[in-house]
Amino acid sequence: MDQFLQQTFSGLAFGGIYACVALAVVMIYQATDHLNFAQGEMAMFSTFIAYSLLHHGLPYWWAFLLALAISFVGGVLVERIVVRPVEGTGVLNEVIVFIGLLAIFNSMAGWIWDYTIKPFPSPFPKHVPFGITFVGPHEFGVIGVTLVVLAAVFLFLRLTPVGLAMRAAAQNPDSARLVGIRVGWMLALGWGLAAAIGAVAGIMVAPIVFLEPNMMQGILLYGFAGALLGGISNPVGAVVGGFVVGVLENLVGTYVPFIGSQLKLSVALVLIVTVLVFRPSGLFGYVVVKRV
């Protein structure tokens, strides 16, 4: 039982990270109707920036906040400069641009900081409060931080006028323009937020998987899977999906003996795809009724 709890909470910790990535993916998706394949690499790049800040002597939480701010601005700039020219020209064209961004971020990170694996510090105290034993201190901290970040984003989207405008711009850009919403800037804002959330995910996961340019790739996949499992049209669903995927991955890896780490990823994905075949819009997504 103890091991089950441990694996579940460990899964939840990773789940929190997947949930962050899933949320970032959903935000850009709701704003642009497309999955940003470069999300993981942007998060990794942000983590490297935090790494550099730390090495310049900045205290952890200052480096954390500054990295978030830089990522936010970076996301806005990427949307305004790189993505804007292809907006509206077709799904596949945008996908190719995202792939290009992916290649650029990955390669630049390797060029600037090289490919050696680096350790990344954890900011959390060595002992878990309330005498909990089934989850490690860093994992506990990760769950806490990601919940706080996700809650902040939800509140922003649901309660503030700008959040409402962002959702409106994403759902119906034409009507949004007609009420004076600057749709282009809402999109840029969405990218900025997504980049910041991704940075949180990267900084939280780096102590566990160690920092190197390819560290986010598996995580991005799980993030996508979580977003789709929960329902790409539903931010809450995406977050839940992320947590489910985290727990699922861990439990499958631990309890299904002949799988081991080789096939863990494939099995988790197969399970998710199976769910999707029976519920094509994800667990919490709603079906968009198509009128001809």
Partner: protein
């Protein structure tokens, strides 16, 4: 000086030209209607004013050039467009739709006042304020669209076929309310309609559009009495 001045307006969808040099004016405080059959270019005219299609020509609102500007900055000058198809934010609630109309405004107290006023004109919307807008009926969504436009406290409202898809009784009521709004709130209106008799009922000025050109213009009364218009558009 007229509130809206349109001069030699041309509009294109891709390579196809739809408006061929429209020129007309709209006086402040008046209701003007543009009549015409399907495909005449009525909707395109409204969209051209809001820069939603490729245009050339002169467009002046309140003395300032608006041609070539972005939609969102044109509407912020006081033009509210009730589009064809209502343009509802279907996943948001009715009230959220209305509040979005006030997005660009800074006077919170005025916004609350206007919200109550909209609910006064459209009590049905008040009943359904928390309901998801996509689940409202066609007529209710039309009211919602008009309400959202009102929330902008516009000086000019552009209405694109408000009668479309609505039952006759509902349409009459809607036009009655539009007339009331124009008088009580001093909102100028440019109404594009296929239903000529309804439109002429509330309009001061009328223009007849055929294949992208104005072929007739005058007061609503004159146009309504004209033989050819009566035969072609009013059915008698």
């Amino acid at each position: 000086m007229a509130l809206l001045e349109v001069s030699k307006l041309e509009a294109f969808y891709g390579q196809t030209q739809v408006l061929r040099g429209l020129s007309f004016t709209l006086e402040e405080g008046s209701v003007t209607t543009i009549l015409g059959a399907n495909g005449a270019g009525k909707t395109t005219t409204l969209r051209a004013i809001c820069a939603m299609v490729r245009t050339s020509g002169e467009l002046t609102f309140d003395g300032q050039r608006i041609a070539g500007k972005a939609t969102e900055s044109i509407v912020r000058r006081g033009i509210a467009h009730v589009p064809e198809g209502r343009g509802t934010f279907v996943r948001l609630s009715a009230e959220q739709n209305l509040r979005l109309g006030a997005y660009a405004r800074r006077d919170a107290a005025g916004v609350e006042e206007d919200l109550e006023r909209v609910y006064g004109y459209f009590p049905r919307l008040k009943e359904r304020r928390g309901q998801q807008a996509g689940t409202l009926s066609g007529g209710e969504q039309q009211m919602l669209a008009v309400g959202r436009a009102l929330m902008m406290r516009p000086r000019l409202m552009l209405l694109d076929e408000p009668s479309f898809g609505l039952a006759p009784l509902l349409t009459e009521e809607l036009f009655r309310i539009l007339g009331a709004i124009s008088r009580e709130r001093q909102v100028s209106m440019l109404v594009v309609e296929q239903n000529a008799s309804l439109a002429l009922g509330i309009a001061d000025q009328a223009y007849l559009l055929e294949t992208g050109r104005i072929v007739m213009s005058g007061s609503a009364e004159e146009i309504g009495k004209d033989e050819s218009v009566r035969k072609a558009y009013l059915g008698y």
